[in-house]
C-alpha cells in the first residue's frame, strides 16, 4: 500500500480546495508555488499574512493559500488592501491579481496606492487577456494578438506595467516569467522584506485561452517563447522594457528606499499629539 504523498508546501495550502481549478499548463500555479517558496524561506508568520485577490483566474489564489484571505470585487483588491494595511500595519498584505483586474478596472487604485507608497505587495499574473471570462482583450494584450474581442487582431497599444509602476512611485519593481522560478522566488523574498509599495509582474502562460488563439496552444510552447525571447536586463530603464514576440525584457527595475505611507501617517499622528500635549 503506498503512503499518500504529502507535498512539503501542503501547510501553506487549504487542503479542502486543492487541486485548484487552473488549466493544465496555467502559470498561476507557478506564481503561487514561488510565492509559497519565498514565504517558506523567510519563515514568514502566516498568521500575520493577508492575501487579497480580485476577480479572474488568479483571483482564486486567495482561496488556496492558507492564510487570512479575501476575494474582492473586480479591480478593488488594492483599495481593500489599503484599508487592511492602514487598520493594522503589522499585517503583511499581499495583493495577487491579474492584468485586467489590476490595470483596467483597477488601474486607478493601482496608481494611487503606488503614489501613496502604501506598504502592500502587489503581484500581477500577466497572461495578456481576460482568461476567466473566455479570453477577451485586456490592457496588456500585445498588438495584433487574437482574442475573443479582437478577432481581427488587437490594435490597442498595451501598457508597460513595470514602467507604469515605476512612474507611479513603487519602491520595488520587477518582471519575471514563470520560467524564471528562482529569480522570481528571490524577488518575492526581496519584496516581502521591503518597506513601501512593491510590484512584481509575472508573465504567465495561459495556453488554453490565450496561447491557443495565438499559435501557442500548449503551455510548453508558451514557456518556450519565454525561454527564447526573455532577456535579463536588471536596472535598465523600465520605459524601454518591452514585451515583444522576439524580446521580453525581464529583471529588477526599481529597488529604492522610501518611507511608507502608513509610517508617515503614524509619525504625523504622533507629532500632532505631541503638540497638543505641550499646550
Amino acid at each position: 500500500m503506498f503512503e499518500k504523498e504529502v507535498h512539503p508546501f501542503s501547510n501553506y495550502l487549504r487542503s479542502a480546495m486543492i487541486p485548484h481549478i487552473w488549466c493544465p499548463g496555467c502559470g498561476n500555479g507557478i506564481v503561487v508555488n514561488c510565492f509559497i517558496h519565498a514565504l517558506d524561506e523567510l519563515q514568514k508568520d502566516l498568521d500575520k499574512l493577508v492575501v487579497i485577490s480580485g476577480i479572474g483566474c488568479i483571483g482564486r489564489t486567495a482561496g488556496y493559500i492558507n492564510a487570512d484571505s479575501f476575494h474582492t470585487t473586480h479591480g478593488r483588491a488594492i483599495a481593500f488592501a489599503t484599508g487592511v494595511k492602514l487598520a493594522n500595519p503589522e499585517l503583511e498584505v499581499a495583493v495577487i491579481s491579474g492584468d485586467g483586474d489590476l490595470f483596467a478596472i483597477g488601474g486607478n487604485h493601482f496608481i494611487h496606492a503606488a503614489r501613496r507608497n502604501i506598504g502592500i505587495k502587489v503581484i500581477c499574473a500577466n497572461n495578456f487577456n481576460y482568461g476567466m471570462t473566455g479570453g477577451q482583450q485586456g490592457p496588456t494584450t500585445p498588438i495584433e494578438a487574437l482574442t475573443t474581442t479582437t478577432p481581427y487582431g488587437n490594435i490597442e497599444l498595451p501598457f508597460n506595467l513595470v514602467h507604469l509602476a515605476a512612474a507611479s512611485g513603487a519602491t520595488y519593481v520587477a518582471r519575471w516569467t514563470t520560467l524564471h522560478v528562482r529569480r522570481l522566488t528571490q524577488s518575492f523574498k526581496r519584496m516581502l522584506q521591503k518597506e513601501g509599495f512593491c510590484f512584481i509582474e509575472v508573465i504567465t502562460p495561459c495556453p488554453e485561452i490565450f496561447g491557443r488563439r495565438n499559435k501557442m496552444k500548449t503551455g510548453l510552447e508558451m514557456m518556450e517563447w519565454f525561454r527564447r525571447a526573455s532577456v535579463v536586463e536588471n536596472f535598465s530603464d523600465p520605459a524601454k522594457a518591452e514585451i515583444m514576440p522576439e524580446k521580453i525584457v525581464v529583471g529588477e527595475f526599481v529597488n529604492v528606499e522610501k518611507v511608507s505611507y502608513e509610517k508617515l501617517l503614524h509619525e504625523k499622528i504622533a507629532k500632532i499629539n505631541e503638540k497638543r500635549m505641550k499646550w
Binding site: 481593500f80 487592511v84 492602514l86 493594522n88
Partner: protein
C-alpha cells in the same frame, strides 16, 4: 493621544455633518475613508481633523469605490469603519455595498441625499435615494437604513447605525438629507457611561474549527479579524459556511441568500424604530421621515388646532420597512398622507402596508422641503 479626546461630552451647537462625525467617533469608529462630495464633505473634513487626536485613521481615497473598499478592508482588519457620500457616490458604491452584504462586513455608509438624478442639485436636499438604499446593489439581500430628522439624531443614529451593523454583521446606511446635514442645532453628547456601544460577536472555540459564515441561532456568524490566527477566507462569490466558493450548488445559494435576507427581516421588530405623535386617535395619519418629518410635525399640530384628528408616524428606520406600524396606523385612519422629496418612493411601501386605506402622496422636488402649510393642505383635502 488619548481616548478621552474622542468623546466630547457636553452641549454643542453644530451642524448635522459634524454631529454625524462625532457620533461615529463616539461609537468607536476608528477608520474613515472618503471622497469629497457636496453635501457630505464636512463629515470627511471634520474627521480628518479629529481622527488623529486619538489614533484613528483618516484617508481620502481616489474615488468612492475605493473608499467603500477600504472601509470593508479596515473592518475585516478589526476597526469600526465608515464612509460618507451623496447620491452620485452612493451609486458608485453599490457594487461594494453588495460585497459588504455578501461578506457580512459591519460598516456604516452615510448618504447625504441631494437632488438627483445624476449630478442633480448638489447643494439642495432630496429624498430620492431611499429606494436605492434597499435595492441599489444587484441581487437579493437585507440591509438596514436609518433616516435622521434632526442634528441630535445625526449624532444618535450614527451610533445606532454602528451598533446595528456590529450586531447583524450587515452594512448599515444613514440616509440623511442635505438640510439635516447642513443645519445647525443643539446637540448633547452624553458621557461614555450613558452611550450604548455594541461590538461584533467574536468567535468562540479554536481557530482551526472556526467557520466564518456559520451562523449562530440569531442567523449571524461570529466574525474573526485578520491577523489573529483564524486564517479564514471571505469571498463575494456564493460560499458555504467555511467561506469557500461554492458557485455550482443551488442549495448553497438558496441557504446563503435567504439567510442574508432573513437575518435582517426576521429581526425587524428589534431593529425598527419609529416615532408616533398623536397617532392613537388619528383619522389622518401622516407618514414622513427626514427633514420633511419636521414640517409634518408642525403640520399635524396645526391640523389638531384646526380640529382635524391628525397624527404623525415618523419613520426612523426606513429599512426594514416598519410595515406593522404603518398597517396599524392605516387601520384606524381614514386616510394617510405621505410627503416626500421625490416622485414617490417610500409611499409605495406605505400603500402596500396600508392595504386599502387611501394614501395621498405629496411630492416636492428641489430647493426646500415641504412647508407645514403644504402638508396641512393635503391633510385638509383628505380629512
Amino acid at each position: 493621544m488619548s481616548e478621552k479626546r474622542a468623546l466630547l461630552t457636553g452641549a454643542h451647537f453644530m451642524n448635522g455633518d459634524v454631529a454625524c462625525a462625532e457620533g461615529a467617533i463616539a461609537a468607536g469608529c476608528r477608520f474613515f475613508a472618503g471622497y469629497p462630495i457636496t453635501p457630505a464633505t464636512e463629515i470627511a473634513e471634520h474627521l480628518s481633523e479629529r481622527m488623529p487626536e486619538f489614533g484613528g485613521i483618516y484617508i481620502q481615497m481616489e474615488d468612492e469605490i475605493a473608499s467603500i473598499a477600504a472601509v470593508i478592508g479596515a473592518s475585516y482588519a478589526g476597526l469600526k469603519a465608515m464612509t460618507a457620500t451623496s447620491g452620485p457616490g452612493f451609486s458608485l458604491m453599490q457594487e461594494n455595498i453588495g460585497l459588504a452584504v455578501m461578506t457580512e462586513t459591519p460598516c456604516v455608509i452615510v448618504d447625504i441625499m441631494r437632488g438627483g438624478p445624476s449630478t442633480g442639485q448638489p447643494t439642495l436636499p432630496g429624498q430620492q435615494d431611499v429606494m436605492q438604499a434597499k435595492w441599489g446593489s444587484h441581487g437579493d439581500y437585507g440591509i438596514i437604513a436609518l433616516a435622521p430628522s434632526s442634528v441630535q439624531e445625526m449624532f444618535d443614529l450614527t451610533i445606532e447605525a454602528f451598533n446595528l451593523s456590529e450586531t447583524y454583521r450587515v452594512p448599515t446606511l444613514l440616509m440623511a438629507d442635505e438640510v439635516v446635514a447642513h443645519m445647525w442645532e443643539r446637540v448633547v453628547i452624553p458621557s461614555s457611561s450613558k452611550i450604548k456601544i455594541v461590538n461584533r460577536k467574536r468567535p468562540h472555540g479554536s481557530p482551526n474549527k472556526y467557520m466564518p459564515f456559520m451562523p449562530d441561532d440569531d442567523m449571524v456568524p461570529p466574525i474573526a479579524c485578520f491577523g489573529e490566527g483564524y486564517r479564514f477566507h471571505a469571498t463575494g462569490l456564493t460560499h458555504d459556511e467555511h467561506g469557500y466558493p461554492k458557485t455550482q450548488s443551488s442549495e448553497v445559494q438558496s441557504k446563503l441568500v435567504r439567510r442574508l435576507c432573513e437575518k435582517v427581516s426576521k429581526s425587524s421588530d428589534k431593529i425598527i424604530r419609529i416615532e408616533e405623535v398623536m397617532l392613537e386617535d388619528a383619522e389622518v395619519a401622516v407618514v414622513a421621515y427626514g427633514i420633511v418629518a419636521r414640517s409634518a410635525l408642525s403640520a399635524v399640530r396645526r391640523a389638531r388646532k384646526a380640529g382635524i384628528k391628525a397624527g404623525l408616524l415618523r419613520l426612523i428606520t426606513l429599512w426594514p420597512f416598519p410595515e406593522a406600524h404603518v398597517a396599524k396606523a392605516a387601520q384606524q385612519a381614514k386616510a394617510m398622507v405621505v410627503p416626500e422629496m421625490n416622485c414617490g418612493q417610500m409611499v409605495r411601501e406605505v400603500e402596500r402596508a396600508a392595504k386599502g386605506t387611501p394614501v395621498n402622496f405629496v411630492s416636492k422636488l428641489g430647493e426646500d422641503p415641504h412647508t407645514p402649510m403644504e402638508i396641512l393642505e393635503a391633510m385638509r383635502r383628505n380629512s
